[in-house]
């Protein structure tokens, strides 16, 4: 009896063919479900919900963790010195952000790599792209870009609405602080990071300072973190000196305070306005920056 005699058989065949075609179409789609553009303008093909994410900077690890919430196992690797949230410390490290190990990354088989223009080597990122790995770059070096970075990372991870929500929260928080800042005297502050290194105009810290209503005494410098001469500091005579310390470097702060105390002509010394600020939240492009800025605000202007 001929095979196609019955309508049922034909139907089965047709649906089988369509099914196979659909399968291949979906399979292909599954491998690159969507396309997005990152901060460098590169178009990146990503799966809908990446399950093996590698973050190439501590700030990116933090941001990713914020969006992943409980699903931290979707993070396959982080950069060295990632410490927030503490759960990330247990994840495999791909090396320091300025020179990570490509071998390590490859072996983690990532389906999304988060990189930053501020710290990761352009060449290494290019290398990763050349190996057809999906890399989404954000620019975490600039305050204005925080919003955009948050949105890009949330989009990459597959939760764009979370990103929008976070940006809203961030902007609301910043507006509140800026409002308070309007009525304040503009203190001239020097933000010190190391022996003679201060935050210049192009740094994150500079923008944080401006938000709370103070001015950066070295705000005219084009560098991120210029090295300054002692004479120049004495000349500029800031109203306050804030020593920013990461981790537990109490001793550095003591050393620096002792050093400045040797120059009693400084306003900051006379008015005892040499402060220690222990907060890496100030430099993370996540919601935590609000904490950091609030801390800075309290330090400079007291509890309002």
């Amino acid at each position: 009896m001929p095979f196609y005699k019955t309508k049922k058989n034909r139907f089965v065949d047709l649906s089988a063919v369509v099914g196979v075609l659909l399968f291949f179409a979906l399979w292909g789609r599954g491998a690159s479900a969507r396309e997005m553009q990152d901060s460098t303008g590169t178009k990146v093909n990503l799966v809908d919900a990446p399950q093996r994410i590698v973050a190439l900077a501590p700030s990116l690890g933090e941001l990713a963790a914020d969006f992943l919430k409980q699903d931290l196992n979707r993070l396959a690797g982080v950069s060295e010195f990632t410490d927030y949230p503490p759960a990330l410390k247990k994840l495999p490290s791909v090396g320091p952000y300025n020179h990570f190990s490509i071998e390590k990354i490859l072996s983690l088989k990532p389906d999304l790599i988060l990189a930053t223009q501020d710290g990761n080597s352009k060449e290494q990122v290019l290398h990763l792209r050349e190996m057809n790995l999906p890399v989404v770059t954000v620019d975490t070096g600039s305050f204005e870009e925080i919003g955009r970075s948050i949105r890009l990372v949330s989009q990459a991870i597959g939760v764009p609405r979370e990103g929008d929500r976070m940006v809203e929260q961030l902007n609301t928080g910043l507006d509140r602080i800026k409002k308070r800042a309007e009525s304040r005297p503009h203190l001239k502050v020097m933000l010190q990071l190391g022996d003679d290194i201060v935050a210049g105009r192009k740094s994150f810290l500079n923008d944080a300072l401006l938000t709370v209503g103070a001015t950066n005494v070295y705000g005219d410098s084009n560098f991120h973190y210029p090295k300054v001469a002692l004479e120049d500091v004495l000349h500029r005579d800031p109203d306050a000196i804030v020593v920013i310390v990461f981790g537990d470097e109490m001793r550095t702060f003591e050393d620096m305070r002792t050093r400045w105390n040797r120059y009693p002509q400084l306003k900051a010394v006379k008015n005892k306005r040499i402060y220690l600020l222990r907060s890496d939240a100030l430099i993370r492009p996540t919601l935590r920056i609000l904490e950091g800025i609030a801390l800075l605000e309290r330090t400079l202007y007291g509890k309002d």
């Binding site: 020179h99 071998e103 490859l106 072996s107 352009k122 060449e123």
Partner: protein
């Protein structure tokens, strides 16, 4: 005389080739991860091993040629200051965003090497005092290059600096297959040209006057060798940063194995240079993983004591 040597040749070169194969296998098997996938080996370790071999060949042959040229076993590619020129070129390129990438190589480094070697060449035209003047000029050029690099680092911004510091002291992590093969081709052709000069290089072993007495056109040979060596060094530094001591140590030990005559010395230096740098690069990747030591640091840590030892032995012998 020649007959006895054949078996010695076979064993010496055979040993060298075996050493290279062994180090290549080690370099492919060890790295930042313990259980590498095939992709890791193919995309990361293989280009690096190829590049390390190529640069090892280039630097050790350049070293041997320079030692013959200056009749001084303490000569190094850096004694001419050309690698500092290459470093300067690269670092300026990064700073001005002129990173011209040809299969991953930094074109400005190449330009820097050529500029410094042209200056050296012009000096060599005037160098009636011969080799001493040239050596000093090279040392000064080296200082100039390094100082300019330091100046640039102190004037510049933190990001670029970090990247340059990684690269300057030897960094093969940027190795891509295309770039590595390009470097291999370049190094092999320049090495072949230098190898072809073996008669003149042998003559120079007797010193400049001795060479002239033997019939070598010293001025012309000096020029030719400088150009070839500069191109070789420029290529190697462009591809992998400043890596020292290979050009000193490999020729020294090769000579002990096979003598000073360049027809055999140059290929043996090439083989052992490839093996040495491949191993050094592997160590650089493995010792503090997932961090990476700059390869130049590894070669310096091993090479500098060897350099001192060679120097002291020479003093001993001379007294």
């Amino acid at each position: 005389m020649e007959k006895i040597r054949v078996s010695k040749l076979v064993t010496t070169f055979g040993f060298g080739a075996a050493a290279w194969v062994v180090t290549a296998v080690i370099a492919l098997s060890w790295g930042a991860v313990n259980d590498p996938s095939f992709e890791v080996i193919r995309q990361v370790r293989l280009p690096r091993a190829i590049l390390a071999s190529a640069i090892g060949v280039g630097l050790s042959v350049a070293g041997a040629a320079l030692q013959a040229l200056f009749a001084n076993p303490l000569c190094e590619p850096y004694t001419l200051g050309i690698s500092s020129g290459a470093g300067l070129g690269a670092v300026l390129g990064i700073s001005f965003g002129f990173q011209w990438m040809v299969a991953g190589l930094t074109g400005t480094a190449f330009l820097g090497a050529i500029v410094f070697s042209v200056v050296l060449y012009l000096i060599s035209l005037k160098a009636k005092g011969g080799n001493t003047t040239l050596l000093l000029a090279g040392v000064m050029l080296g200082f100039l290059g390094s100082s300019l690099v330091t100046l640039w680092i102190s004037l510049s911004d933190s990001n670029g600096v970090q990247n340059a510091m990684n690269w300057l002291f030897g960094d093969l992590s940027r190795a891509r297959l295309g770039g590595s093969l390009f470097t291999v081709a370049g190094v092999l052709s320049l090495t072949a040209l230098l190898w072809g000069e073996w008669r003149n290089l042998d003559g120079l072993l007797m010193g400049e006057e001795g060479a002239a007495a033997l019939g070598v056109d010293v001025r012309q040979v000096r020029r030719k060798v400088i150009v070839l060596v500069s191109l070789l060094i420029g290529l190697c530094v462009s591809a992998g940063g400043m890596i020292g001591f290979i050009g000193l140590v490999v020729p020294h030990f090769s000579r002990r194995m096979i003598g000073s005559l360049h027809l055999r010395l140059i290929p043996l230096c090439a083989i052992w240079g490839a093996a040495t740098l491949t191993l050094a690069d592997c160590l650089a990747r493995v010792v503090v993983r997932p961090y990476e030591l700059p390869v130049g640091v590894v070669t310096a840590l091993i090479g500098a004591p060897v350099f001192l030892w060679i120097m002291l032995k020479r003093q001993e012998r001379e007294s």
